[in-house]
């Protein structure tokens, strides 16, 4: 019974994990908007979600606190985003694009939360009758 509950919620748990990982990557991009030679990064959410659903996500093992996490906790494949307008200092962060993605991602996160809440409520009403 518990595993059935777990299965019921695990999809949304994975989605929320990926959304918050993406939120963090977008935050890194925005914060480095003025850093010379910084390259904006992002990942394909749909592909990462399919990957997470089809198999258990793995992440690189880190043996030192200074090691960078390879692809983050959710094992996503980071890609460099192509700038529409290149800048002279080698920075590829475009603030409007990144802010747009940041907002879109946070709305999706909230949507996932709302759906998960209603799922929990359905389960609760099934349990309590």
């Amino acid at each position: 019974m518990i595993s059935r509950l777990d299965e019921e919620f695990s999809f949304y748990q994975k989605a929320l994990n990926l959304r918050s990982a993406r939120q963090q990557i977008l935050a890194s991009n925005i914060v480095n908007a003025d850093t010379p030679n910084y390259k904006a990064r992002d990942f394909d959410f749909a592909a990462a979600m399919q990957n997470a659903v089809s198999k258990t996500a793995s992440s690189l093992e880190t043996t030192d606190s200074r090691h960078m996490q390879g692809g983050g906790a959710s094992g996503v494949k980071l890609q460099y985003s192509m700038p529409y307008q290149s800048s002279l200092d080698g920075n590829t962060v475009e603030m409007d694009v990144e802010r747009n993605k940041y907002m879109e991602n946070s709305v999706h996160y909230e949507a996932d939360l709302t759906v998960l809440t209603s799922r929990i409520k359905i389960m609760l009403s099934a349990i309590t009758g």
């Binding site: 890194s28 914060v31 996160y109």
Partner: protein, 133 residues
């Protein structure tokens, strides 16, 4: 939890942008300082940003260093000034007021952006805490 890291990332950005704002303030305040403790006229300063990996994941930003502007000093003809050379010229700081104002606006916008980002992350976390209610 990745959302918590955003607070650290946005915080590093706010710190870096406020340092940049600080340097702009020094430059503007010293736009007319013909001398300094070293005896040389004030040189405009610029911050250099560098991306740093945060130990909890994500990439933050920090000020790698403050560099002096290498452009030549403004030579102003003021024979009565005690700092004037044999030809009556005084070396004034190479501060470009227009450039500094633009830099200031850019830094304050970036700072606001970071605050905004932090607020969004905070709201998402609070919403997560009320999950299932």
């Amino acid at each position: 939890m990745s959302l918590f890291n955003i607070l650290g990332i946005a915080g590093s950005g706010m710190l870096a942008q406020s340092q940049r704002l600080n340097v702009v303030a020094s430059n503007l305040a010293n736009a007319d300082s013909a001398t300094s403790p070293t005896g040389q006229p004030y040189r405009a300063k610029q911050v250099v940003f560098s991306a740093i990996p945060m130990n909890s994941g994500g990439v933050g930003v920090k000020v790698k260093g403050v560099v002096d502007d290498p452009s030549p000093m403004k030579m102003v003809y003021e024979p009565k000034n005690p700092m004037a050379d044999a030809n009556g010229y005084v070396a004034m700081p190479n501060v470009n007021a227009t450039e500094e104002m633009v830099n200031m606006i850019s830094a304050s916008r970036s700072y606001q952006n970071n605050v905004d980002m932090m607020t969004t992350a905070k709201n998402l976390m609070l919403k997560t805490l009320t999950l299932g209610q």
